[in-house]
Amino acid sequence: MSPRASVKRPATPAPQKSDAPAKPLWLVYLLGWLVPGGGHLWLGRPAKGLVFLIALPAMFVIGLALEGRLFPFEPREPLVALAAIANVGAGLPYLIARALEFGAGRAVAVTYDYGNAFLITAGLLNALVVIDAHDIALGRK
C-alpha cells in the first residue's frame, strides 16, 4: 500500500441545513419594502440592512427637501405613472410623506429635477434591495 493511498481526503462538506425555520417570503418582501433594509436585518444581515436603512430614507428625504414631486397615478401619462410606481417603492417613507402631504413638488424650483431623481431612485433602489433580500431568503447568497 503506497503512502499516498493512505492519505484521507477530507470529504466534501454536505450543504448544511439550518435548524432555523424558513422565513415566509411574502413577509420578507413586505418588511423589505416597508422598511428599507428591513428584510436584510430580519434575515441576519445587519451590516447591509443598516446601510440601506440609513441611505435610502436619507435619499428620499433629500428628494423631498429639494422640492421633488411624489407623482400621482396617471394611467393616461405613462411616464408619470411609472414615476409614481417608482415612488411607491420607497415604502414607509413614501406612505408617511403622502400622509403628511409632502412631495407636492415645485416645478419652477431649480432643484425640482434633482429632487425627482432622488425620490425615484430611492424607490427603485429599494426594489433592488427587496430582490436581494429575496435571493438571501432562498439561500442563493
Partner: protein, 59 residues
C-alpha cells in the same frame, strides 16, 4: 434645501447611489468599497464627460 450647485447635487446623488449599489453588489467590505468607488467614478466621470460633449456639440 437651498443648494443650487449642479455639481454638488450630482456628487451627492452619485455618493448615495454608490453606497447602496456597492453594498448590494458585493458581500465583502473591501469589495463593496471598490464596487461603490467604481459606481461613483462612473456616474461622476460619465456626467462630466457627457457635459463636455454637450458643451462642444450643443444640441
Amino acid at each position: 434645501m437651498n443648494i443650487q450647485s449642479h455639481l454638488l447635487l450630482m456628487t451627492l446623488f452619485a455618493c448615495a447611489v454608490s453606497v447602496v449599489g456597492g453594498t448590494l453588489a458585493k458581500d465583502d467590505l473591501r469589495q463593496q468599497v471598490r464596487a461603490g468607488a467604481a459606481i461613483f467614478g462612473t456616474l461622476v466621470g460619465g456626467a462630466i464627460l457627457v457635459g463636455w460633449i454637450l458643451y462642444l456639440f450643443p444640441i
